[in-house]
Symmetry: C2
Subunit: 187 residues, 2 copies
């Protein structure tokens, strides 16, 4: 079976993230990506994980406890991802964004194009050569199309000499499955 | 590095094609995909390979000879891919189409939307569950955009209960790199 956007996002990160690396989960949500990244970078690495909702930090702590995983290499940060440059000053190998709303959460709390693009730009500023920023874009909610279009414009204008920008999308499904974008730094 | 469309097309076929399988190269061209498929299905399988240009058959024979590979499991067919159902009557695991013109060849000889869509439909009629049809679409030539748009419409309308249709595309490159479409049969 073809990977869905979530599965493919993990595949793209698994290919490049090594133990000891520094990575970002820009949208902590229920903590699943934070846990996944924590396992990839292992105890010598570091995961910076952001969310504006305090509940996300609590859910993530509970998830790690339930999985008997330590948070020793994880920084749970109660702030918007457009504050990345206040918290992350070292080079990163990867970052993941789940854009839209938190599945199963409050659909009125959504990411917004201005802060999202600022956060992506801040992540790019720290991205190592060969590193990848993954954007999993949910857009079936009010405001979702606008965020998606602004993000697509931003990504499509990145200099092809420095970045490869991939779009991975299922095009025959009626329920707006997420679109995956991957920005890889070439040099 | 992220796979380009050609590399990813081979990855998607490698994941599913087994020795003994029957597969189609709908656009033989210089024979590289025919050789690749011949190695995947091995001596117990079968590759049906189509081209309207006689030179393609000659180039493919020369390629196999140069690589010291036998054509024992390959059927080189001098016909348009919209004749697939005249030649292939058994279930297939995969098919690959390189649409547009033959790189390095005569750019006035291009694939056309009506015969391409007919050929894709004929391939779908033979496709096993779990099988994949790959379309690598070059569209930077006169008529290329029209073929691409008609093909995208056709693929986007395939029933999501029976098919998953993936679009894989680099969106920040100015020189129209090929777009990959993959149709996977679910049931």
């Amino acid at each position: 079976m073809l990977d869905n956007a979530m599965q493919y996002s993990h595949q793209l990160l698994t290919e490049i993230v090594q133990p000891g690396d520094v990575v970002i989960d820009a949208t902590m949500g229920n903590g699943h990506d934070t846990l996944f990244l924590s396992e990839l970078v292992q105890s010598t690495g570091r995961v910076f994980s952001f969310d504006v909702q305090k509940a996300a930090l609590e859910q993530t702590r509970a998830l790690f406890e339930h999985q008997h995983q330590t948070l020793i290499n994880v920084e749970l940060i109660h702030a918007s991802h457009d504050q990345i440059d206040h918290y992350v000053t070292e080079p990163i190998t990867g970052a993941i964004f789940n854009l839209g709303y938190l599945p199963g959460g409050d659909k009125s709390i959504i990411t917004h194009p201005t802060s999202t693009i600022s956060a992506v730009q801040q992540s790019l500023n720290q991205l190592k050569i060969g590193g990848r920023i993954i954007l999993v874009c949910y857009y079936g909610h009010p405001g979702g199309q606008e965020e998606l279009q602004q993000l697509l414009s931003f990504v499509a204008e990145l200099d092809q000499h420095h970045y490869s920008c991939l779009r991975y999308e299922f095009i025959n499904q009626i329920n707006n499955p997420p679109i995956l974008l991957c920005i890889e730094r070439k040099k």
